[in-house]
Symmetry: C2
Subunit: 256 residues, 2 copies
Amino acid sequence: MKIAIITIGSELLNGSRLDTNSKWIAQNVLPYNGEIVSKISIPDTDQDIINTLNYYISQSLDMIICTGGLGPTHDDITAKTLYDYFKDAPIFDDDYWYILKGEFKKRGYDISNLNKSQAYRPSIGKIIPNTIGTARGLHYKKKNTDVIVLPGVPAEMKLMMKTTVLPMIGDLSKTSTSFKMYRTTGIPESHLYEKLLPLINKYPELDVAFLPSFLGVDIRISSKINKDFDKINNQLFSIIEDYYYADNEIELEEVV
Amino acid sequence: MKIAIITIGSELLNGSRLDTNSKWIAQNVLPYNGEIVSKISIPDTDQDIINTLNYYISQSLDMIICTGGLGPTHDDITAKTLYDYFKDAPIFDDDYWYILKGEFKKRGYDISNLNKSQAYRPSIGKIIPNTIGTARGLHYKKKNTDVIVLPGVPAEMKLMMKTTVLPMIGDLSKTSTSFKMYRTTGIPESHLYEKLLPLINKYPELDVAFLPSFLGVDIRISSKINKDFDKINNQLFSIIEDYYYADNEIELEEVV
């Protein structure tokens, strides 16, 4: 199923935050047969959020996953914008406010009135539970597109994906995809491509990407037709064996 | 000046690559008075590139920086798509082909005919030199928007930004921005916001962002009016002093 990611927050656009959430989401939807077809980062403004939702919904995607802007401060406008966008009338949730107050007390703080904004719940849409933070998620549907809204804090986003969103994607998906990455060194991209061309032509269902880096060229293959995937992998490996050095996906950029 | 980033490549959407380029670009345009207002990652297809260029050009941005898809293989369609988009008729560049052949020879390889695609140059647009790789960049203009196209390989992109694009942004920009980040711990976001509210109200030109993480809450301030910036910083520091622990921008996500 086709999914777009909208990450909301000026911190992603002024260089103060690296967007690691999108990569995590992209990797983790794959085994559930989700495919990220586009991802965009936008500032915390009503108009940017509305324009972007309109743009993606017009493209008939199966799901849009939004992250960020669910906190209690002035720049956290995502929930309010979504309520307006879906013409929803949120309800103050006394039970959740009681839980929130308890959580703050446990940590030794008085709760701020600002956190009241986080105690509303949608009346048309659904709540996505957050068991480790104060910002709960939202789930709406427009035309055939499920719109999911999650906090930007990575630990919270990941837990909510695992407990709620990934199982939902699994239920909604119909096809499955196999994929594998090979890392090579000591051969230019163009030569590697020439060597692999017969294999690429033989299996038109195979999606092959060449990813040059300063260490060499990585090859990523994927296929929605799984029955020949092991055979293709064996053939590919025998072609690139002399240049192959790893098949994991760890990147030097992530560890320096 | 307002800038959007388009990163082109399926590897950014299937979780095999972390987009570190965008963060680097966002940080490095700031001192030259550039502001990233949106960034999007899209697959290597003609239609995605054309739709996205149309979308951003319609928003009257000053500049669009595209990265990726300038290599020699089947999925590298960016240059071809841009030539068509700008109705350009590229010319085979014999001098550059001679240089490329020499570079391959130096590294001990015969050049592949596939690399011929990298030896074309635009006739309407301009070339952006690449002194450490084979893929040169492109520079077009449509309405008031400069469209810059760079390779996705980080070392090449960064060098081409430093030598050509950043000085261009400096020349085109008219305003300058001051910014600083403070990292705090031991205080909830809502309490921090309440403490800073008088300062936020006193300096309406100040842009204040609260960035929660599992270590605490970071505060990022920026202003286009530079004359009071030191005074504001001193006042802010005296308010958050008890919770402050660092002012650098190193993120744990980047080192684990």
